[in-house]
């Protein structure tokens, strides 16, 4: 089939959202008065008019097949008049007019192996990136990590027993396609060695100036290597971001021996109570140990449990740590504090402690 033979329309944009709104939502658009959580994963929104729309929230692996989507469509057809949505954390939300359909829907979801929950003081679905499934710069796999962690933390998804909501994210490299820099707990894939340069390939597939300018720390210089126009990397300056590999495929960074995972804590995006915060380093390196990443899952579970035990009601992880102080966090979580925890990149000094306000 040639391009000419195809009917071509462009720049039409997405379909208008109104087509997809449940009739109750359309009638009560902008008129919602309040909401209540009926039980974990089940919400009711009540309109000024008294109208109600029920929501059942289910977890999803995000990486799903068309048959998986058709399966959830079957359930939505049966119980929701065919209306559903997805959340920013990749949960599926079934929108119901009839309260009576909530329990049969939950039963149907559980039969298909889908958990219901993720509301309020729960661990919601883990936002994650592609990993080895589909990314060129991944230092780890995201889907496998998420599956392994959510198996361990399952109970926290289906209940609401934490001090406050807990948001976990996974990004498979420093590009951080998931918002891991502002999550309660973030799992970040890391490379630990500079790129290996294939000088023969580089001259054919990369532009030297673009490659040189792609480096945030100016570690890449043009160089002639054995008569070939190429580049060289100042290994002391490289912080393994992979930016060069994205513009120059002849500089692969992946390294089976050294790639792994780091753990970060205490970020948030909401403005509630405290201002949004970045995540901070908790564990600089854990090995990639597929398929179950036992070191990572137990480290994350430990942090969740220490938080659950010590934080006060309505304290997010970062708020709890700010109250007790970082020294006590490291102590309570049983984590080692190393030189890697002390920032040495730009503006590093802003994180040094400049007061005597220290706990015992």
């Amino acid at each position: 089939m040639t391009t000419q033979a195809l009917e071509r329309k462009t720049d039409m944009g997405p379909p208008h959202y109104e087509r997809f709104l449940h009739p109750i939502i359309k009638e009560n658009y902008g008129k919602w008065r309040y909401h209540e959580t009926l039980k974990p994963g089940v919400l009711v929104h009540v309109s000024e008019t008294g109208a109600r729309i029920y929501t059942v929230r289910a977890g999803s692996p995000r990486l799903v097949s068309v048959d998986f989507i058709r399966m959830i469509c079957d359930l939505a057809d049966k119980y929701c008049d065919g209306y559903l949505r997805f959340t920013s954390r990749n949960n599926i939300e079934f929108l119901l007019a009839d309260k009576e359909n909530i329990e049969p829907l939950i039963k149907g979801l559980n039969l298909k192996g889908l958990p219901v929950g993720g509301t309020n003081n729960a661990i919601s679905n883990i936002v994650h990136t592609q990993g080895w499934v589909h990314c060129h710069s991944a230092a780890t796999d995201a889907s496998g990590l998420v599956k392994s962690m959510m198996d361990e933390l399952y109970d926290y998804f289906t209940t609401m027993k934490l001090p406050h909501k807990l948001r976990i994210a996974v990004a498979c490299c420093l590009n951080m396609c998931g918002a891991v820099h502002c999550s309660d707990i973030a799992i970040l894939g890391i490379h630990r060695r500079p790129p290996k340069i294939d000088h023969n390939a580089l001259k054919n597939v990369c532009e030297v100036p673009t490659t040189v300018s792609s480096c945030p720390t100016a570690a890449i210089r043009p160089a002639t290597v054995e008569g070939i126009q190429s580049v060289e990397v100042d290994e002391d300056k490289c912080m393994y971001c992979g930016n060069c590999f994205t513009v120059c495929p002849a500089m692969p960074l992946a390294d089976s021996l050294n790639d792994g995972v780091s753990i970060w804590v205490g970020g948030k995006v909401s403005n509630a109570r405290t201002e949004p915060m970045f995540t901070k380093l908790a564990i600089p390196y854990l090995p990639n140990n597929p398929p179950r990443w036992p070191e990572v899952t137990s480290a994350v579970k430990n942090i969740v449990e220490v938080y659950a035990k010590h934080a006060r009601r309505y304290e997010r992880v970062g708020e709890w740590i700010n109250r007790i102080g970082w020294p006590r966090f490291f102590k309570q979580a049983g984590l080692e504090f190393t030189k890697y925890h002390i920032d040495d990149f730009k503006h590093a000094g802003t994180t040094y402690k400049r007061s005597t306000q220290l706990t015992q």
Binding site: L21, C73, F86, L114, S137, Y154, P216, P249, R292
Partner: protein, 452 residues
């Protein structure tokens, strides 16, 4: 590197299944392929392990372990798809290889896309296509999602049918920027897939140095906190800037996210270059009878609401809740705890923040305040005027692969604000500067008199 003898096949596979399920002879002589020789140097057993005798089904002993446990397994889902789709089958095989070697096997880039568009399709190639021929090309198509991610089953089935016809049948619902992601297309499949999409009323989203697909929270469709119509604004902005979305002409990516209130459920402050976060500038509306209801139900308003207020501006006076709105910073905590009793004020709009991004290149940034309060009403003229002034500035002063947040840090927020025609405001900073290195622009030459 092992000797040539060790590399020899034990059982040569002479056939493969192509993406349409047809059995094809293998064209390449593996032994002569330098790439494969190199790979095999690191593990001779790979061939047996992944190619096996059976062509149809990949052996995945490591991934199989991810079928256990209560959380839904992407492996189980992938395997079901692999029975029908050679592309999904080879994806499983390659992923198993990654799990074994602890290393990814994808290559980036290549100029792929649909005619007339520069964005929306991301090229992806396997570096082990000799082993996994069906994922040799495994491109991503970003389909522009609906505002607020609302769908009907009819629409989802339509997307599924299109993707079943043209690709691997695997998706991300949704991608990090918000698109409905088709994962795994051949280069030849892109145009027919795009044609079927547009026929059904769908279009591609953004990628590369363009305006990325805007996304928003569920807003007034299903949330009482929404301070403006996030769905309509997202749709309007997406439609207004179709050219910027589809044809990369910026120095780097540009992301919009619309959040209806300061809870920021779409993480706009962290994940977008330009965040529109709903807020209000009058008094929180209080329903005292609902306050009493919460008290009667046992809510400890003192500990759970009053003591948590960051500005200590709430009090309880004989079961009546009082808020000193002048001190309120609209953090949302009290509304979140007592949604039935408290509502945003009536004079609603949004705070516009700029410059959020992940670490590449100069480190992560949260967006910072650009306009403390703007009325957000159709046709969003004030907003669009501002955006176009910013884009003009970025176009002129931004350097390649520099996000607007980094550009602003380089030129200085004060200079940036001046250049786009805004007044410097104390709301833009957490504090005034604490160093004296001021670049004065006004001064007197010898002999000049200070003007009265």
């Amino acid at each position: 590197m092992k000797g040539r003898k060790d590399i020899a096949w034990k059982g040569v596979r002479k056939q493969r299944i192509d993406q349409w399920g047809h059995i094809k002879p293998i064209e390449n002589d593996f032994l002569l392929n330098p790439l494969l020789l190199d790979i095999r140097g690191s593990g001779i057993e790979r061939k047996e392990y992944y190619m096996a005798d059976e062509i149809k089904k990949r052996k995945t002993p490591l991934l199989d372990e991810l079928e256990e446990g209560p959380w839904p397994s992407f492996v189980t889902d992938l395997k079901k798809m692999a029975e029908k789709k050679p592309k999904a089958n080879d994806l499983l095989g390659q992923l198993e290889l990654s799990y074994k070697e602890k290393k990814g096997h994808w290559k980036h880039g290549g100029l792929v896309g649909v005619a007339g568009y520069g964005g929306g399709v991301i090229g992806r190639y396997s570096d082990s296509s000799e082993l996994f021929p069906n994922v040799k090309a495994f491109h991503t198509c970003r389909v522009n999602q609906t505002s607020g991610w609302f769908y009907t089953t009819e629409a989802l089935r339509e997307l599924c049918d299109i993707w079943d016809k043209h690709g691997s049948g695997l998706t991300n619902v949704h991608g990090s920027t918000g698109d409905f992601v088709f994962l795994g297309a051949d280069t030849d499949a892109l145009e027919p897939c795009f044609s079927d999409l547009t026929k059904a009323g769908w279009d591609l989203g953004g990628s590369g140095s363009d305006m990325r697909t805007p996304s928003c929270c569920n807003g007034p469709a299903r949330c009482e906190f929404a301070c403006y119509d996030t769905l309509d604004m997202t749709y309007d902005i997406t439609m207004t800037y179709q050219d910027e979305l589809h044809r990369p002409a910026f120095v780097y990516k540009w992301k919009f996210k619309m959040a209806g209130c300061p809870n920021d459920c779409v993480a706009s402050i962290a994940r977008s270059d330009l965040a529109v976060i709903g807020t209000w500038r009058d008094n929180i509306r209080i329903d005292q009878s609902a306050v009493k209801e919460y008290l009667d139900k046992g809510l400890n308003i003192t500990s759970d609401v009053i003591m948590k207020c960051p500005k200590q501006c709430i009090s309880l006076d004989r079961n009546e809740l009082r808020i000193n709105n002048e001190d309120c910073v609209k953090c949302m905590h009290c509304l979140n705890v007592m949604p039935k009793a408290l509502r945003p004020g009536k004079d609603k709009g949004a705070t516009i923040l700029i410059g959020g991004k992940a670490p590449i290149m100069e480190g992560a940034l949260l967006s910072s305040v650009l306009v403390p309060f703007m009325k957000i009403e159709k046709p969003y003229t004030e907003f669009k005027d501002l955006i176009e002034r910013i884009w003009e500035f970025w176009d002129e002063h931004g350097v390649s692969r520099e996000r607007i947040g980094e550009c602003i840090q380089r030129v200085g927020m004060g200079n940036f604000v001046e250049a786009i025609g805004l007044e410097p405001l104390p709301e833009m900073v957490s504090s005034p500067r604490d160093n004296p290195y001021i670049f004065y622009e006004e001064y007197l030459e010898e002999g000049e008199e200070e003007e009265e």
